[in-house]
Symmetry: C2
Subunit: 720 residues, 2 copies
């Protein structure tokens, strides 16, 4: 019955090969004139330098954690270093994803600019879309390959203990992503803010003007933050969601076919993506957004068809397989719904953003207040969708999944496998979503190249359109990423409890069922341990958000001072007579971003570990619940408020009100929104998943310590 896992390996490899083919096609395009190549080169060099320094810092931390996992998990459980291996490979995969994203985007930008200059909109769209597809296909391909490959390998090595190492793959991936999100997010927004504040506001020169000493750092930031960060994020979501579902199936004692189903559906979705990326209409296109939407919808529709077709291949009772295909499709169909909701709250075609723009007539303060209000409100319909999916998919699982090993609890636990399939459905369309998302920064960078290289106005018009469509796909992808993180985290959270029970049963040599009975009682919401844990979880989210927000302000301040210094000491820069020192700004941003990313990242590791070890595993469960319940709406608030402020500013500009007081007020909103939507907000996704995966990986060590030290403070009933 390992057939579908092998199928996954093969299609994963095909995905990577397809990406290589597209990459070669993109690289064959004309990279433009010398100036354009020079600019691209400078951005690529800065981005690579940042990523490598970041990876070097991370390498030390990862090595320490790998040794810790080896010593506290693999050796005591006697599973041959598999967990350590999973962790390391997962982490390396995230690094590779980030690097790939950066590589493709920096190479493509000048080529898209040149395509816009020589071939117009259609050609430029094609080149940037295919550059995006390189990312989408390679990330989905690598993720699928790793999961199905490791599933086969781990199962071959140990029939019993292969599931935790698989989650370790997710832990490595999400941990590296967390650091990349934080570091890259601080870099990109501090550089953006610094360059804008001195360039646009003080010196009155346009965005991306080559006289601005911060302009290269700003473009580097787009690559290390938006591109490398988002690439790692979606890769990590994919790994965590699919491994969580497999892990849950294993721990619920389901037949192998259910695990095969997860891998099969993920594989079929990638097949659908192969078709989908080719469905983009490019010739004679006026509104690239509708072309892109069509390609996405077609991919989702095809995926759903394949889920139903594939459900017959599994050798399960037909009605059970069909029911789970429905649950999975539900997840896949959620993607466009969330895209619509996000669009409503962040596009200037609808009321909310116009309301913000309207307040710009009064004052910047009311722009902030109203935008914050819109952000808060925007979280509610997305959460309603998450609740609905959770409820319906749980009901499907309740009836359709045959769990038997947990006595009276079995059917109630089966429900959550339905939710796991829905989260898989949401995630497996990641290939096409990341294609549309990666297309954004490519166009953004191309736009920068056009401006800096001084290409004619009509070229700028083309890349402007592509860029603004890219902003929309970027904003909607965020909502999608948060929703998928929420579902994955919920599934993993429930799986964690069973891993804890499993570990306790093993350590005490008792049956799972009797331990489960007691554990569930001590996990109820009125247990002070759980409540204390929940407050710690919310505090962690607050700490994390606060640190990342303030880091942007601090770093931007240093960049502002450096740019002001250059303008002051080299007055010739503004008159095009002197060359600004781009490298110094790049260096400051790099140094500061890496100085700031350690504390919040380490807190995400140390706080849950200490809570679990010292306050007990039920406090840890409370912590995770608190972090999910507070973190998901906060991520939505920050992403959507940021997007709404951004577009309120654009709406004011569209009305020809640039350089007015009203525009100034709108710009302040946009600037506040930048770190909301691109630094703090996106970091919350990997944070939630790091807490979960870390807890699953270290569950054995935590339970062992709890029992050894007799620590169950305030626990309603001790774990025994």
């Amino acid at each position: 019955m390992a057939g579908f896992a092998l199928f996954g390996v093969v299609v994963g490899i095909l995905g990577v090969l397809y990406a290589v083919y597209l990459a070669r096609w993109v690289l064959r395009q004309d990279p433009g004139n010398e100036k354009m190549r020079f600019i691209s080169q400078a951005i690529a060099t800065g981005a690579r330098a940042y990523l490598f320094r970041q990876y070097k810092t991370l390498a030390v931390l990862l090595a320490v954690l790998a040794v810790l996992i080896l010593l506290t998990i693999d050796l005591p459980r006697g599973i041959y270093g598999l967990t350590t291996l999973g962790f390391v490979i997962g982490a390396l995969g995230s690094m590779l994803a980030g690097y790939l994203g950066m590589y493709v985007t920096t190479r493509s930008a000048s080529r898209v600019a040149q395509a816009a200059a020589t071939g117009g909109m259609g050609r430029a769209l094609l080149v940037s879309w295919r550059a995006g597809a390189v990312m989408g296909l390679s990330l989905a391909g690598i993720a699928l390959l790793l999961i199905s490959g490791f599933y086969l390998v781990f199962k071959a090595v140990t029939e019993e203990d292969w599931a935790v190492p698989l989650v370790a793959l997710g832990f490595g991936a999400s941990l590296v992503t967390l650091f990349m999100r934080v570091g890259g997010g601080i870099y990109t927004k501090a550089a953006d803010l610094g360059a804008d504040l001195v360039g646009k506001v003080e010196a009155g020169i346009p965005e991306d003007d080559p006289r601005n000493p911060g302009v290269i750092a700003d473009n580097v930031g787009d690559n290390v933050g938006d591109v490398a960060g988002m690439a790692a994020d979606v890769y990590e979501s994919y790994i965590v969601t699919v491994t969580a579902a497999i892990f849950l199936a294993a721990i619920l004692g389901l037949q192998a076919q259910y695990i095969e189903m997860i891998i099969l559906f993920a594989t079929l979705a990638l097949v659908a993506t192969f078709v989908g990326v080719n469905l983009l209409k490019t010739s004679g296109v006026k509104h690239p957004l509708s072309s892109i939407s069509t390609a996405i919808y077609a991919t989702i529709a095809l995926s759903v068809l394949l889920f139903f077709a594939g459900s017959f291949l599994l050798g399960l009772e037909t009605w059970r397989a069909l029911a789970l295909a429905v649950a999975t499709s539900l997840g896949a169909l959620v993607a466009p719904v969330i895209v619509k909701i996000t669009d409503y709250y962040t596009s200037y075609n609808y009321g909310p953003v116009r309301r913000i723009a309207e307040q710009a007539k009064i004052s910047p303060a009311t722009v902030i207040i109203t935008g914050y209000g819109v952000g808060l409100m925007s979280a509610i319909p997305v959460i309603a969708v998450i609740i609905a999916v959770l409820g319906v998919s749980y009901a499907i699982g309740f009836y359709a999944v045959p769990v038997t090993v947990f006595g009276d609890y079995s059917r109630y636990l089966a429900g959550i496998f339905g939710t796991a399939m829905a989260s898989v459905g949401l995630l497996v369309v990641a290939g096409i979503i990341i294609t549309a998302d990666s297309y954004g920064p490519v166009s953004d960078n191309a736009n920068g190249v056009v401006e800096m290289a001084g290409l004619p106005e009509n070229v700028r018009e083309v890349t402007d359109v592509l860029d603004s469509v890219g902003n929309t796909t970027k904003a909607t992808t965020k909502g999608y990423a948060i929703a998928s993180a929420a579902l994955a985290a919920l599934v993993l959270f429930i799986a964690l409890i069973f891993e804890i029970v499993h570990a306790a049963a093993k350590i005490k040599g008792m049956g799972m069922l009797s331990i489960l009975d007691n554990s569930l009682k001590s996990l109820q919401v009125i247990n002070p341990s759980v409540l204390i844990g929940a407050f710690i979880g919310v505090s962690l989210v607050y700490f994390f958000t606060s640190r990342t927000l303030e880091a942007v302000g601090r770093t931007a301040m240093e960049i502002v001072e450096e740019i002001r210094r250059q303008f002051r000491e080299k007055p010739g820069i503004l008159e095009w007579k002197e060359q600004p020192d781009y490298a110094r700004v790049v260096d400051i941003a790099t140094r500061r971003a890496l100085g700031e990313f350690l504390v919040p990242g380490l807190a995400a590791i140390i706080v849950p570990l200490l809570t679990g070890l010292l306050l007990g595993w039920n406090a840890l469960a409370g912590l995770i619940m608190g972090a999910i319940v507070a973190g998901v709406p906060r991520a939505l608030l920050m992403a959507n408020a940021g997007g709404a402020w951004d577009n309120a500013k654009k709406y004011v500009e569209l009305q020809g009100l640039k350089k007015t007081e009203m525009h100034k007020a709108a710009v302040i909103g946009d600037t506040v929104g930048d770190p909301f939507k691109d630094t703090s907000g996106p970091s919350l996704n990997p944070l939630i998943k790091v807490l979960n995966t870390l807890s699953v990986v270290f569950a054995y060590a935590i339970v062992f310590t709890n029992i050894a030290l007799g620590i169950y403070p305030f626990g309603l009933l001790p774990l025994s």
Copy 2:
């Protein structure tokens, strides 16, 4: 054993009499010249008009709810309308508290102004402090009187079912407070914002300038928002906390002495407050803040002494009584700790606020970002204190409280009674805290009278000092109010579960213990019902915050337009030649605030009821937990960020940087912070408690419906 309850009744009456005595003393002071009296009169008239219109709107809603409670609770349970009575009296008490606050403040303002003119700092401080004490003593007195009186009456009527009607007292109080907080908060900040935006920013006239048509509305707002709102808030916290502790004692089956202990400690604290209000040093005072702090600390120290002395009177085993005196004192001592933390994050003597001011050099956007970051961070130490109190007091209760009726669970449940005593300790010092808090708006209003009546500069200097000290006491009271709300909500939340079990046992005619066993299992955090409920709870907090924030923006916009219109159509106003139309602005603010306060208020009633009835009682428990876990830190974030922005602006002004770009940036931060700290933030306190008290009151109806309809969707185990 009803002795201590009678003692409570007597001391409660003494408190009210003492307040009457002080009120007469204040009213005997010279109310100043005719202009001062005219201004006071205008403010008083506007405030009374607003309050009466608000109460009229509320009366309809309260009547509907009273009938609902009568039909669904009192009649089916056969308890003679006691719950309805409790609800109505609690609600009327809140209205009275608000009215009293408004009455005292508006009468005192011109008298404090006159005292500053004739007697200097010491005299002005004495008058404003005694005006504050009228509030502090009468509110604490009324609350104590109601609780101990109703306890005696209810117990005399029904030996068995008196506890829920006591909580209904809290439900009525918190519901009215919720509406007063929302309506008053919108009124005060919209008027403030509107008056400032046109007056200070556009017309360049100072704050409280009589030429500004919004100036009376602004001062009315201080009274209906800050004064009436905060008075109702603390009154409500007192009622809810003490009744929650009594309710918990009853439901845990504790001996009557434990209930007597609660009332005794509350009574002793009021006795301590009688002494404390007289300890204010006023002659030769340079720094009123340290005088006020001394009076507060002395009251707390005396209360703690009395707790220990009183613990010997209860006829309990000495070690148990002493242990609970320790738990109660812990709560009382928390108050100054929280005041210190709040001070650190919101005063310009420390790093955080200076960091915000520093960012004003760069841009308003970085002021907002950094201030928001400070607000987020400030929540963490307060939550740490809440966690510590919860943990330690739980441990005390675990060992010292003899619960026996819940079998194996008994000791674990006893713990929470320790926490209940800590929350009582935190609350019973409310009398002195509200005195210090009410003193603030009195000085603020006096300051306005001085400005509007054109009194000399040296008088303004005195009231300026008093006003700025008032800002500090106001800010720190908020932190205190939130922490007490959090502890009260946690206690009530746990009591709620037992009321549900109790109701189920009664309806099904089964023993509590067997129902409890099942209920706890279905209440664990991995139950999808609980998780769905938690997400609904967070969404409700978001909805509430968003609506109140945006309401301020919308209402301010109308006020801005009206003021602009008056300046435009009557150009003589600015040259002192024409009289502005104050009443029109007051009317707009009243109408709009009352138009905006219904939707969020109704949501706080309807959402939990529907969740409980349709998704089941465990989803309702999840909702409350979600609202507490998300609402408490959010309230802290909003209160402290607002306070920090306010003082960052003052810090910039202190450096003589008024009218600079830097000052402008700081003012924008302050303006954003206004609705954060005075509208949305403070509304979250009563919101959390309304959810709790409402659920306790309607628990019987909810459980009955759940059982009748067979509704336990996704519940791990049905309630049976």
